[in-house]
Amino acid sequence: MHKPSFLRDKLLPISTVVALLIAIWYIAAVFLNAPFERDTAARAGTEIAFSDLVGNTMAQERPVLPAPHQVVAEIWDTTVNRAITSKRSLVYHAWITLSATLLGFGIGAALGVLLAVGIVHNRAMDRSLMPWVIASQTIPILAIAPMIIVVLNAIGIAGLLPKALISTYLSFFPVVVGMVKGLRSPETIQLDLMHTYNASAAQTFWKLRWPSSMPYLFTSLKVAVAISLVGAIVGELPTGAVAGLGARLLAGSYYGQTVQIWAALFMAAALAAVLVMIVGFAHSAVLKRMGAKP
């Protein structure tokens, strides 16, 4: 048996893949941005040397595909070099999106757990609710998001909550499905044991069903938090591109600011990664407290 090593087991495989992706990205950037350079040269009636061509493709203002270092530079410029309160700061926009994500995730997780508890304990709810829960996810979120924003606006609710509700709409689903499975995961023998103790439904819930469902809960929360972020971004698109990562994406596409789009994309990806990681840490911490085999 080898001793586990961070360098060999984690860093090396991950960095290899990252290096490979960056290489492919650079090659793609050169290929995709080259036609513009050739056209420019042709219009000016000059020939462009290959080395100049490669250099130019990585320094365009509105490239088809910006080179990685351009995206990094943009992220650096809009995070470190701007005041956090500035509307040009990516941190400011990320925070707007994050707050809607977290609120929507919170409501979605709570709603999902409550629905699952109802579905597991009540046959009528099981029969009547589950099909609707599944049907809700067959509606494209892009179609329903503007409706939610418009309807809520009409009754005077604007700002954070409508966006959060779109996150909720997406994130409650994995929690319901995961928790229904989790709350039903105790084995017959464990339930029989509770029956022999003449335990009440509440006792069976808190002492058996709830602890049994923890691994399922955290697994579904990981999915839920990631799609909460997607929901918040989608929710920002129909608000007229005021603020948030979604607004940055929309504004970027209006004005052909591909570098800005990619920067916002990477910010969103990083945010999602951090959120999923936090849930993952909470997962391990809870399972450790519950005495799971290391």
């Binding site: 029989d192 044991l193 509770m194 002492k207 005495g291 799971a292």
Partner: protein, 263 residues
Amino acid sequence: MTSNSASVVSARNLGLTFQTSDGPVNALTGVNLDVAKGDFVSFIGPSGCGKTTFLRIIADLEKPTAGTIAVNGKTPEEARHNRAYGYVFQAAALYPWRTIEKNIALPLEIMGYAKDERKARIERTLELVNLTGFGKKYPWQLSGGMQQRASIARALAFDADLLLMDEPFGALDEIVRDHLNEQLLKLWAQTNKTICFVTHSIPEAVYLSTKIVVMSPRPGRVTDIIESTLPRERPLGIRETPEFLEIAHRVREGLRAGHSYDE
């Protein structure tokens, strides 16, 4: 309900038919049996003979479809509400997120015992099953035999005079099983409980029991009830004595007679 007040379990013409998609299945028919206080009764027979079903009826985990049964002179449901019995399953069924002492505390928490009382009872039952010092361990840190002992401790922790055991040592190897059988007899002598014990091992049944109920399948029924003549004090060596072998022989005959070879 007619029942002998001295019997802990009293069954008259008891039967249970399961309705399945393949038609009705006679899990148990015409069982007449009395278990007296302090008895150690073993139920032995091949699979499908209804021995586990009978235990589950006593525990109110199944409802009989024919005849009557009384547990402590009441219906099984009332007896369950009074927490009249402790049940030990085939598997230890310990909750993996609870330490051993928390697992033993589970029925005590549900039945509303005070914290000090819980602690005292955990100590006492851990000692009874020889697990003192393992209270803080999680189930996965214990061997299969130790886990099953913990599950017995859990069934002993509250004041039920009746202990129902459904092949508790079935999944364990012979050596561990011998050891646990010896311990179980000691425990029975110490606690003065009534024990109903399901097994498919003839030596186990003869070694442990004061009464052996031989059962046979299709339909599940009792074919013989053997009162053991062995003394209550039983060293492991008793299994080589002629008396022991004679009882074992009778059990084997009973099992053979009940077996339908024409299928």
